[in-house]
């Protein structure tokens, strides 16, 4: 009883999603996140900030992104009518630009002259480097050495954009280590530096900030679907891939209060959720505290964070954002696990069927759509968010299929 009262109290605090979230960071960073919270609270409702951001989204990043009716896929799967939310058509090729524009603009308003960021697949690093170049801020990117190998093209892209890329060789040399190293760098240099976190994770206010900047995805889906399917039409299911979960929370957000809309996050099962080589946090993880937040994490019995694996560098993360943890706990969203093999098949399927090469991350959502759509009625509507384009993955998929192709 007493324990319940304590939890109730925690959920009422700022930056909490039910019991999840919080600010579990070294003391040195506390003033920085407080300062960020205050600045964001002010600028999010500032008409000038809003209009500058909208202008950048529309005239620089190519928003709104298309809501594309995938007719071939719909006919082939023989069930639900399938729409693709084409975040892959954004400038820099992924949804990451939505958040990068918002956060770098915010950093500039706060008087910061330097941004740092972690990156997994390289998409967030490229997006941050792009916006830093545009708005005239210095930019340094932290990336696991293993990911630098897998995504060599994006490393060069970031350098072209004027960013300095630091290889992180601690731990597994992947996304989680890049996040830790970027936090460490932030504690070294705070006054002129903003940490542009790439997903809806980390300490408050990051999960809220990133979700708000990505919520443009669901806001557009809602409006665009009504334009083609008639006023009041809601999708029956919205699917998105989930690593930290930023494109998924952006795709879900404006449908959370529409209970008829099924929200489905597609996690990376890697070689399978019954193997240690997986990154499916909801399916294999448990409650923990890491990287600034209370949420679900892949971890061992002693609370050591697990060295996760996925073919997709962007989903290769042992945690999930706190708002997803809440949606899962409350039963509002479901989280399914997709293996490397299923994702690669979906990558190839969408390329052949619609002439669209999706990011291997997004292919996880396409893979679940291939299972679910045939079970849905023809008058039902499914929206799949294609979080990014797949050019960056072509060489890796060729290697997966046994072709010796290097980029």
């Amino acid at each position: 009883m007493e324990k319940q009262a304590e939890q109730q109290d925690v959920t009422q605090r700022a930056g909490r999603f039910d019991i999840f979230g919080g600010q579990y960071i070294p003391e040195t960073l506390m003033n920085a996140v407080k300062e960020l919270d205050e600045a964001y609270t002010y600028y999010k409702d500032d008409p000038e900030f809003r209009s500058e951001l909208t202008d950048l989204l529309n005239n620089y990043a190519n928003r709104p992104s298309l809501l594309y009716y995938a007719e071939n896929m719909t006919k082939d799967l023989g069930g639900a009518k399938i729409y693709l939310k084409r975040e892959d058509l954004n400038h820099t090729g992924a949804h990451k630009i939505n958040n990068a524009l918002g956060q770098v603009l915010l950093a500039k308003k706060m008087g910061k002259t330097r941004v740092i960021a972690e990156t997994g697949a390289g998409q967030h690093g490229v997006a941050t480097a792009t916006v830093a170049a545009l708005l005239g801020l210095d930019c340094e990117i932290y990336m696991g050495v293993k990911d630098m190998e897998r995504q060599a093209l994006n490393v060069y892209r970031m350098r072209l954009l004027g960013a300095k890329v630091h290889g992180v060789n601690t731990g597994t040399g992947t996304l989680k280590d890049a996040v830790s190293e970027t936090f460490r760098e932030w504690t070294r240099r705070i006054s002129d530096t903003h940490y542009v976190i790439g997903s809806c994770m980390g300490p408050h206010p990051f999960p809220t900030i990133v979700r708000d900047f990505q919520a443009v995805i669901s806001s557009e889906i809602k409006q665009q679907l009504q334009e083609v399917e008639g006023k009041g039409t809601l999708p029956d299911a919205v699917l998105a891939c989930v690593g930290g979960g930023s494109n998924a929370i952006g795709s879900f957000y404006h449908f959370i209060d529409d209970p008829s809309v099924k929200l489905i996050g597609c996690e990376a099962a890697g070689r399978g959720i019954d193997t240690p080589e997986t990154a499916a946090t909801i399916n294999t993880g448990r409650l923990g505290i890491f990287h600034g937040m209370k949420s679900y994490f892949c971890q061992d019995d002693n609370g050591q964070i697990a060295p996760v694996y996925s073919i997709s560098a962007g989903l290769d993360y042992p945690g999930i954002g706190p708002e997803h943890a809440e949606l899962y706990k409350k039963g509002r969203a479901q989280y399914v696990a997709i293996t490397d093999e299923e994702a690669v098949q979906a990558f190839e399927y969408l390329s052949r069927t619609e002439g669209i090469i999706p990011a291997i991350e997004s292919a996880h959502a396409v893979a679940y759509a291939m299972k679910l759509a045939p079970k849905m009625r023809k008058d039902q509507i499914m929206v799949i968010t294609l979080s990014g384009r797949g050019d960056k993955d072509v060489a890796a998929i060729a290697r997966y299929r046994g072709e010796d192709l290097y980029d």
Binding site: E6, V10, G22, Q23, Y24, I25, P26, E27, T28, L29, M30, N31, A32, T170, G171, K176, D177, S180, F183, R184, T187, R188, R189, I190, R286, L287, G288, I289, F290, H291, G292, F297, Q299, N302, G303, Q304, I305
Partner: protein, 258 residues
Amino acid sequence: MTRIASAFSKGKAFIPFITAGDPSLDVTEQLVLAMEKAGADIIELGIPFSDPMAEGPTIQNANVRALAGGTTPDQVIELVRKLRTQTQIPLIFMTYANVVFSRGTQKFLDRAADAGIDGLILADVPYEESEEFRVPCKNAGIDLINMVAPTSHERIKTIAAHSDGFLYCVSSLGVTGVRAKITGDIGGMVSLAHEASNIPCAVGFGISTPEQAHDIAQKSDGAIVGSAIVNIIAEHGKDSVPYVADFVKQMKQAVQSA
């Protein structure tokens, strides 16, 4: 009086840190006893964590070595139990929230207290999140030690006023690791804390030489040294005990003469 309070009542404190299980738990046991003999007043034992966000490369690598050797939190607690049959020096766990939380915070702390631990430092739990650990710590009779940093500014007084054991003052920006120069305003930090409370203030992060330790101890109630010792352990491995003891002796003298 608790063992921690009693340590500070005897004068300026020298507080070494080592990562438990680096290079082995046997060596950790020998190191604790040797450091006590060499003059350490309180000893911090790091429970290794896979992703230590507040550590520089030196202590990160110590964590890697300890985990590679199979060190678990349970084994570290049992080491404390064993040490308590041989020494009454105050022992403090330093680790990360998940190590304590993932096994059930109260259960973990009760076991640690039963084994004989005196205090707990969680590098990724700031004052704002400390309640969920402070209450179980109080129940178990363990001091939860708060940290303040050069960026804490006006929060220093609030944090100091709600502190147990001692206040851990972070000397400079950044993560743990040896530094040529300590950049934070130590004197300012300590006097702000002492305005709010008579809690002892010990300073850590970056201290590696007797001169630095002497200077720090003049401005505070004690000096905490981690990376410099962990470097000696990294170099000498299982043979590091006499080297560490020599270093602790020098540092203790420097602190005492302050």
